[in-house]
Symmetry: C2
Subunit: 203 residues, 2 copies
DNA sequence: ACCTGAACACCGTTCAAGT
DNA sequence: ACCTGAACACCGTTCAAGT
């Protein structure tokens, strides 16, 4: 799929019908034989990524619920990182393609098999999925991370030390790699889930 | 600021230089007297929102660290929801405007004042900020939420019951309002932070 | 000195005309 | 029946020409 290739290599914005047509030595009008609008094209690209997310999912039976949640979220994040520009394409609408359905079914089944009640399973799944996508989006839309980090550090250093004591107190910690932020937050949520599960299982 | 008005009312995509020029009874070329590119215009709009985030921040001293985190995150989320289309504009680069700096300083100071160590304060701040933005983005890019929810329910109901047992098991729970997902995940992270703080304070 | 119409190189989508 | 060049109404940015 040439469209996914473009999104991977040059980002979501580079996926224009004219550019795609040129890659395929075709015209824009001809593309409309394969999809009915750019939105439809994007839905097809997105579902292709869900197919890969499903097929490359490692076996995660009998690992306990914490490890199951961790691997689910990490795997989703890894696939979205691998296909750099694709995350923003997921924002427009909730994915409704066949492979998205399969991926959701598998994830929910894993949570239920690990003892989550139905209300908690849904909430855990949707919240983790949104968490993963929220981070993936912030990763893929960053066009030049190094330049951005350099700018933010420079901006910090130009601040008045007296007026920004807290910022200067933590300045040595910046920048924290986004992957580390992702893991940090994920572990927080898993720790939080373990507390909820105590109540959930007792009721 | 007419640009922010456009973003609020018609979304980030509606903020084109031509449309903005028309609203101001001007030409596109004239706009370049006030900013040097569309990116620069967006940075100005974004910083305006940070100014509002800061000025409308309720006093949150002496509420304890959990309440402080909760109010910080909720307030950021509320302001981003109020200015619907603005969240996607925050994705392109880390905000570097003066009001963004002030907002960050105040947030970090609050965490430090509540007993967070510097490494934990930074991580808690950046992760919460990314969490809030990740959700806000998924809220503002949804052009027609009701239509989308109707479509997803319809898609679920067309699935084969035997092949999608987990999906059908939880179908009554859908859709969960995004605001509820946000609160659910935020409480998970706060619960997770309370566990980390135990180790953090002991060391 | 300041402003701006018009141009340039793009975009998604449509459709009449060609094979 | 299938394909597609050209058109339409957009976009950000630039600059020569006007005041």
């Amino acid at each position: 799929m040439a469209a996914l290739q473009i999104v991977n290599d040059e980002g979501a914005d580079a996926l224009t019908l004219r550019y795609l047509a040129k890659q395929l030595s075709s015209g824009t009008a001809t593309l409309y034989r394969h999809f009915e609008s750019r939105e439809d094209l994007i839905a097809q690209v997105v579902d292709r990524v869900f197919a890969e997310m499903e097929s490359s999912m490692p076996g995660i039976d009998n690992l306990g619920w914490e490890m199951t949640c961790r691997m689910l979220a990490n795997h989703m994040f890894k696939v979205l990182c691998h296909h750099r520009g694709v995350a923003p394409l997921l924002l427009q609408s909730v994915p409704k393609g066949p492979n998205a359905m399969i991926q959701r079914e598998r994830s929910l089944a894993l949570l239920l098999a690990n003892g989550f009640s139905t209300p908690l399973a849904v909430r855990a799944y949707v919240t983790l999925a949104r968490y993963v996508l929220g981070f993936a989006v912030q990763l893929s839309d960053r066009h030049d991370e190094d330049r951005d980090n350099a700018q933010i550090t420079a901006t910090f250093l130009k601040l008045d030390r007296a007026a920004f004591p807290a910022t200067f107190a933590v300045i040595d910690e910046f920048p924290i790699p986004l992957e580390e932020e992702f893991s940090f937050g994920l572990e927080l949520m898993i720790a939080g889930l373990s507390q909820i599960r105590k109540c959930d299982l007792n009721q």
